[in-house]
Every structure is written in structure tokens, then in C-alpha cells.
């Protein structure tokens, strides 16, 4: 029973990690990018802070927590707003890609500029998403405005 449980945890983790690893092996060819390192750190933060609500596949929980995979805002150009969501949280009842969500997202203000940049870079480039990285400098600038 106990062993079974541990195996299930392990399977679940490895399925989840696989996505990231595949992606890394792409970029790793030739260039050891800062993107790669940022993604790796971002994944760790995602697992600690975000996965419960947004789920391992970034698909979210229907009507409760929005998907990040395929979300137009996550893939979009407005990095300021994404930084704001992480630093200030999000509790307004707004439509996201045609749906409303009932849960509250708490602020993650204790994350450093680097960590916010990493986790955003991760969600913008994981699953089917492909969008520009977020840099610590961008987070720093946004935070100054959000004060």
C-alpha cells in the first residue's frame, strides 16, 4: 500500500518533469542558454507555488483556476500585467479567454525579482507556450511602478 503510494508519487512527478526535460534537451543543443537555466529554476518555483492550482499540465481547474497553457495573456506581450498578477495576486472577477474563475490567487510578493522572472519565463515557455523570457530587470521596473 505504502510502496504503491510512493510509486504513484514518483510516476506522477516523473511524468510532470518529463515535459520540462524534453524542452531543455531542445535548447541545450549547442547553446547553454540563460533561458534554460531560468526555466529550470522557474520549474522549481512552479512546483512549490503554482502547480496545486494551475496543475502540472498548466490546464488549470475548470471554472476555478484558469489554464496557463495556451492562455492569451500568458503568451502575450504585456509582461507588466503578468508581473502584477504574481506580485499583487488576482482576485477580480474578470473574464479570461471567455471563462470566469472562482478562486483567489494570493500575492507572491516574497519572491525575488529573479524568481518572479524565472517562474514567468517558465510558464511562457512550457507546455504549448512560446513567448519571450522575462528578465529580473523587467520585474524590478514593474515593481517600482506597482508600489
Amino acid at each position: 500500500m505504502k510502496r504503491n503510494m510512493i510509486e504513484r508519487i514518483a510516476n506522477c512527478y516523473s511524468a510532470f518533469l518529463l515535459t520540462g526535460t524534453l524542452l531543455l534537451s531542445f535548447t541545450a543543443k549547442g547553446q547553454t542558454t540563460t533561458l534554460e537555466a531560468s526555466m529550470q529554476r522557474g520549474k522549481t518555483i512552479y512546483v512549490q507555488r503554482c502547480v496545486a492550482c494551475h496543475q502540472p499540465d498548466g490546464g488549470g481547474v475548470p471554472h476555478m483556476n484558469p489554464p496557463l497553457d495556451g492562455a492569451s495573456a500568458v503568451k502575450g506581450k504585456d509582461k507588466f500585467r503578468l508581473i502584477q498578477v504574481i506580485v499583487k495576486g488576482m482576485t477580480d472577477r474578470v473574464e479570461i479567454d471567455g471563462e470566469f474563475y472562482s478562486n483567489n490567487m494570493a500575492p507572491h510578493a516574497d519572491l525575488t525579482d529573479q524568481q518572479v522572472a524565472d517562474v514567468l519565463t517558465y510558464i511562457r515557455n512550457n507546455w504549448s507556450n512560446k513567448a519571450g523570457a522575462v528578465t529580473p530587470a523587467e520585474v524590478k521596473a514593474a515593481r517600482a511602478k506597482l508600489k
Binding site: 496545486a52 492550482c53 502540472p56 494570493a106
Partner: protein, 430 residues
């Protein structure tokens, strides 16, 4: 040949209806044929199922009238309507006619003594039913309760009624655990929790009085985070509720709870409610491994300390996070005798057990003896999710959300993910 059999059954059925005796019910021949694959469900021996309807949107709770037609409360409008009325014109068990009405969305719906009751996330309405079980004045319901708090989270106002003219309304807490900052790591609990004044409990109102507000209602029980499932037990004259326990012990207090602890704590719970009961939310939760109430970490707990105040202990505990969205006492005669006066629970399914697989997504049965749960429970109808193991919610097909009993004793289950309505029947030997 086939035709004449079904015609014969139809006639037999009509004849049976006119004699209408409760004791005769179990002899009523069933004319409705199940789907060949039992609508994809796994059921105990002798049971079968069919899909009555699909694509009914975010079908929350359901009610079935004496004619076997179905009212579905929607959490989001479908073709501009918040309630769907599904009719089976040729009595094959499947919906042929769909009519919508109601300009509000919500969860709660119930039929009681000639009225259809339905809730938005702030109000409760009722409609007079005619002798065909139909709502005649669809656009002019009586507003019986108004001004209930809706802060998005846990906004569903589930309802049930007793036989003494009262209606009971779940007013879920608009918070996970009454932290100063909802769902923020390490944020401590507000003490006393101000949410409990207007939410986090069950309120009792009169079923036939118009425009009641909090001032007219009674806080019947408190310390209940969100009891999406509730039903009146007509055998014992008691309210029973099923609570969604708090989330994210590991994210919010990682110093006390690892991922595995969070996946398995706290228990989802069922209570038999007496007026004035306090089940302890947000101050305490029930730990089904230590088998006792534990002080919440927001209030100084460490996963081991017991609360110093005494709170109600659940009558039944279930695995964590499975989200019991509907409770139904089975009073019909179609199912084998052991099901009578037992409870069915629709588990919506968890999202907060990572890295373990998610659990629930089934209808469970809880046998009762002498009006009390036996402490045992079993999976009754499984297979809603359509996948063996749920690691991602996006992969899930159906999520059980509402339950209703049909006039012939069939059990109906609604799914708020794809909008399917299932009907489960017993066709084995008694």
C-alpha cells in the same frame, strides 16, 4: 415484435402509475433501456445506466418531478437561461424537449410540496408547479430570500427543505481558512473570524415568506466551510451536510505539512446537524489519520495540537479534497433494500492532491442503520472521469455535481463539466 413489447410495457406502466402505491413501486416494469455501455459508468451488479442528456452546460444541482422530467440549475447561462427543463416525451428515458428559463445562474434547486425552489449565488426563488409538474409562470418567481453574501469563492447557495416549512441554505465561506490574506503562505487567521457572521454555515429561512434577508433567517449551524451537499433526512428529521475541507496545507504552512500530508489532510466530512452546532472551521479541521480534531495552523496549530475549544466531530470522514458536491438520502423502492434510507454522495473530484493523483469523480454510497451512518462507505458509480488516473483536471470528462431521485426510484447524476445527465437504474433481481 419489439414494438408491441414496449407498447405493452408502456400500458403496464401507465396502469401502474394510476395505482401509484408506494409499496407497488418496486414491481413497476422498467421500460427504459440502459445505454449498451452503461453510459461509460462502472456500477455494482444489477445496476445499469443511460445518458439522459448531454451538453447542458455547467449543470449543478438537479430536481426531478413526479412525471420524471428534470430541472437543471446552471452555473453559467445556456442560450440565455439559468434553468433547463428537460422532458422525455416518448418515455424512453432520454430527453427530447429542452426548455430554458430563469435569468440567473447558480447551484441550488429542489422540488418540495408543489414548488420548485432555485437559487442564484445571492437569492432564492420559488415557482408554483402545476399538476403536470411544470412551472407556469417562468418569468415571475416569488423571491423568498435575498441579499446573501457572494464573494466569488464558495458562492454556491445549495438548498434543502424540511417538512415543517423551512428551507436550509449553505452560505459557503469566501475564504480558504480565514487567513488575513487568503491563500497566502504563512498568513495567520483572523481571530475571531469575521466571515462567520454572514457565511461559513447553514442558514434556516421560511420556505413560504417573501424577501427574507439575514435578519429574518437563523444561523442554524456554523463553522462549516462550504457544504455544497446537504439533504434533509426525512426518516430522522435531521439535516445532514457534506463539507469541503480546507486546501493547501503544504503551500501555506510548509514547515508542518509536506506534499503527502496535504494530499491526505484534512478529511472531507459529513455531519448530522443539530441547531446551533459548530463544526470548527476555520479554527480546526478533522484529521482522519489521527482520528481527531486538529488546531488549524493559521491559529497556532502544528499538525498535532488539538484545539482548546470543543467543536463538533464529523459523523463520517472521507479522503481529503474529493469535494462532496451533493448529498441524497435514497427513499425509493427500485434499488435493493440495503440502499433504502442510506446516503449517496456525488464527489466532484479533487484538484489539490499533487503530486499524488487526484481522487473522487464518483458517486459513493453510505449505508445507514437506524438513521445513523455506519461508518463504512463504498464507491457506487465510477468512471465519470473517463481516465484511469487523474493527474490533470483538464483530462477529466465528467464531474459528478448533483443528485436527484426520480419518481420510479432511479438515481440521476448531473455533471457540471460537460453538462451530461446520467440516470442509474436497478434491473437485477431483488
Amino acid at each position: 415484435m419489439y414494438k408491441s413489447i414496449s407498447l405493452f410495457l408502456l400500458v403496464a406502466c401507465v396502469a401502474c402509475d394510476s395505482t401509484a402505491g408506494d409499496t407497488l413501486q418496486h414491481r413497476k416494469p422498467i421500460t427504459v433501456l440502459p445505454d449498451s455501455n452503461n453510459a461509460g459508468l462502472k456500477l455494482p451488479n444489477g445496476f445499469s445506466a443511460l445518458k439522459v442528456a448531454e451538453n447542458m452546460g455547467r449543470a449543478r444541482h438537479i430536481a426531478v418531478n413526479q412525471q420524471g422530467d428534470i430541472y437543471v440549475k446552471l452555473e453559467r447561462k445556456l442560450n440565455g437561461n439559468g434553468i433547463m427543463y428537460l422532458r422525455d416525451l416518448n418515455k424512453d428515458g432520454r430527453t427530447e424537449e429542452v426548455n430554458g428559463f430563469g435569468n440567473y445562474t447558480g447551484t441550488g434547486i429542489a422540488i418540495h410540496k408543489g414548488y420548485l425552489y432555485a437559487s442564484s449565488d445571492e437569492e432564492v426563488f420559488r415557482y408554483k408547479l402545476n399538476d403536470k409538474g411544470e412551472v407556469e409562470n417562468r418569468e415571475a418567481p416569488e423571491k423568498i430570500i435575498t441579499g446573501l453574501i457572494n464573494r466569488r469563492q464558495h458562492a454556491s447557495k445549495s438548498i434543502t427543505l424540511d417538512n415543517n416549512g423551512n428551507i436550509y441554505v449553505n452560505i459557503g465561506a469566501f475564504s480558504n481558512s480565514c487567513q488575513e490574506k487568503d491563500r497566502q503562505t504563512g498568513s495567520m487567521g483572523m481571530n475571531p473570524c469575521p466571515i462567520l457572521d454572514s457565511a461559513g454555515g447553514v442558514w434556516q429561512f421560511k420556505a413560504n415568506v417573501l424577501n427574507q434577508t439575514y435578519a429574518n433567517g437563523v444561523r442554524y449551524a456554523t463553522g462549516l466551510r462550504n457544504v455544497v451537499g446537504l439533504d434533509w433526512n426525512t426518516q430522522t428529521n435531521k439535516l445532514f451536510v457534506t463539507q469541503h475541507g480546507r486546501d493547501q496545507l503544504n503551500n501555506l504552512f510548509p514547515q508542518y505539512y509536506d506534499d503527502k500530508a496535504n494530499a491526505e489532510l484534512p478529511a472531507e466530512t459529513m455531519y448530522e446537524i443539530n441547531p446551533g452546532d459548530n463544526a470548527g472551521w476555520p479554527y480546526a479541521y478533522f484529521d482522519n489519520q489521527q482520528n481527531k480534531l486538529i488546531l488549524a495552523p493559521e491559529y497556532g496549530g502544528d499538525g498535532k495540537k488539538a484545539p482548546t475549544t470543543s467543536f463538533k466531530v464529523p459523523d463520517m470522514a472521507f479522503p481529503a479534497h474529493m469535494a462532496p458536491n451533493a448529498l441524497l438520502f435514497y427513499t425509493g423502492n427500485q434499488f435493493p433494500a440495503r440502499y433504502k434510507n442510506g446516503a449517496f454522495i456525488a464527489f466532484h473530484g479533487s484538484w489539490n492532491r499533487f503530486p499524488l493523483p487526484q481522487e473522487g469523480f464518483y458517486v459513493a454510497f453510505i449505508p445507514f442503520e437506524n438513521g445513523k451512518p455506519t461508518g463504512k462507505w463504498e464507491v457506487f458509480a465510477n468512471g465519470f472521469s473517463g481516465v484511469e488516473v487523474v493527474n490533470n483536471l483538464r483530462a477529466v470528462a465528467h464531474r459528478p455535481c448533483g443528485l436527484a431521485q426520480g419518481p420510479d426510484g432511479s438515481l440521476y447524476v448531473s455533471d457540471d463539466n460537460k453538462g451530461s445527465i446520467f440516470r442509474i437504474m436497478y434491473q437485477g433481481n431483488q
